[in-house]
Subunit: 318 residues, 2 copies
């Protein structure tokens, strides 16, 4: 039987949903002898120690990363360059630097140049999450049965890649290797565009009452925000969940995967315009045909066991 | 203590998710002495009897509705006019006709003219559902803690309204009365637009591989359908669930709530275009500000206990 311990010291920089979940898993399964943590705010650092998912907390990223065998960057990706610049000089020879960001080309661009010779960069992306953020939101099962995509740059050290892959496998994930550019295009479809659309529709709904009160004479034309919330079980509520994700994290994702998101958005708007036209012209067959062929994709998601568990009823206690 | 029995005979026309769930609830709690059912296809009628959520099955709607105290139309709304024309002449004096459709002005328009004097129309809409359809998908708790909106036309019989309201309250719902036109505008926001958007994005993703194989030279630009499914836990999977709803039901909803859906779609596309521009110009502050203010709506949905229960992990057994 293999020893559980994979690393002497892991440093996790950024202790939100993903960072804290990774720490919990490492602690639960004894995957490292020591987990050092850093977060930007003192409130998060104190909370992390109080909850107990790290062994030591550090006021700077450089201090946390010092002597670490593995450093995992878990802050919003816009912060990566500054963190890499800060920790780079103090990294141990042979250390591995990884991350969990949802865009990968930019990680290689932002982090790579700051790493000294003999330190290995293995960018990673656990495709997992909830709508919650912050150090209280983590739990060790988050990565169970999810995919974790590693995007090592050309010429990456295969030993380093294997060590990061083993960590994620032990965290419950299926590990896949992918070209970073390709990763960013795939995730634009499966994650970035869905979030953009969700934020948009919830924003549209949030503005509606104010707009309608200005525009409409007839009070029965005015849809109130209170009503939007109350009758949200018709579908809208699912968008509110996705649109509750961390705003800074998502700002950085869109700024760093611009081309893929904009290209896809163009296709989406074309399709939406075609359906809009079908509704205006009363073309029932076009609508029915379109609505029918999307079902095969859903079956695929369920068969791949990536659907999660949604219950339409409320939890017993909240 | 009040007697559980509210009706001697209820006829349910259309035995899909909503129809069968209503039947299950009526049977479970003894809300009617007899539940008669009709469905268009023999397969559904047979399945309904086999599952046992109706007491009698009928090859025609007219036969099922004969002598009923309450008839509930649960077929896709495009079928309502023909069903009303068929059952109208045979309805018992004092009978109440209701429905469960997601658009209400059209029900009054389509059904009203076929009802004889002394028969009361009380349109209803339980704001509840899952992505599953068909007679196997029903369960008696579907309406628990959900809202049911009744939209009686002007001058409706108050006793008839109260009887329908009592049925839904006994089914676990919070009953609200609303102007039918206003209902259709509210539901365009909370249900119709979210479904249209979900169908569109799943459709865009379904076409992508084929489009990209034609357009792109570089294989790393081609996102495969297989990959879209595999990495769907990043947000896309939730859209696939919504887009798995019944295509005919949704075709009829869009055809019958055209003006409200198109008006709202115009606002949505405006907002989406503004975000698209912010991404193109790298306006991080605009994005962050937009992504932040949508969180208040989510808090409202949770506080109103309309959020349902989503677990990001897979169910133990499927």
């Amino acid at each position: 039987m293999k020893s559980a311990v994979l690393f002497d010291k892991v440093a996790v920089i950024g202790l939100g949903l993903i960072g804290s979940s990774l720490c919990w898993r490492i602690k639960r399964d004894g995957l490292a002898k020591h987990v050092a943590g850093h977060a930007r705010t003192k409130a998060t650092r104190d909370k992390a120690m109080e909850l107990g998912f790290i062994d030591s907390v550090h006021a700077t990223a450089a201090e946390a990363a010092c002597e670490a065998d593995l450093v995992v960057l878990c802050a919003p990706i816009g912060a990566n360059a500054a963190i890499a610049e800060e920790i780079g000089p103090g990294l141990k020879r042979g250390a591995v630097v990884s991350d969990v960001g949802s865009v990968k080309v930019c990680v290689i661009r932002d982090v790579g140049p700051y790493l000294p010779d003999g330190v290995h960069l293995v960018p990673g992306h656990p495709v997992a999450g909830t709508e919650h953020s912050g150090p209280e939101s983590g739990f060790p099962e988050l990565f169970e049965n999810r995919y974790c995509i590693l995007t090592p740059p050309p010429g990456a050290d295969s030993g380093a890649v294997e060590r990061v892959a083993t960590l994620w496998r032990r965290a419950g994930s299926n590990v896949e290797l992918m070209d970073p550019h390709h990763h960013d295009r795939v995730l634009a479809v499966t994650s970035h565009l869905p979030h953009l659309i969700s934020y948009t529709i919830v924003g549209t709904a949030a503005d509606l009452e104010m707009q309608l009160r200005r525009e409409k004479q007839d009070i029965s034309d005015v849809v109130e925000t209170r009503e939007v919330i109350k009758y949200s079980a018709g579908g809208f509520r699912d968008f509110t969940r996705i649109a509750a994700s961390d705003p800074v994290m998502w700002r950085d994702i869109f700024l760093n995967n611009r081309d893929a998101v904009l290209e896809l958005l163009g296709r989406f708007v074309e399709d939406l315009t075609a359906l809009q036209r079908a509704i205006r012209w009363g073309e029932g067959e076009t609508l029915e045909e379109f609505f029918t062929r999307t079902r095969a994709i859903r079956r695929g998601v369920i068969e791949m066991r990536q659907a999660g568990s949604f219950k339409p009823t409320e939890p017993e206690k909240e």
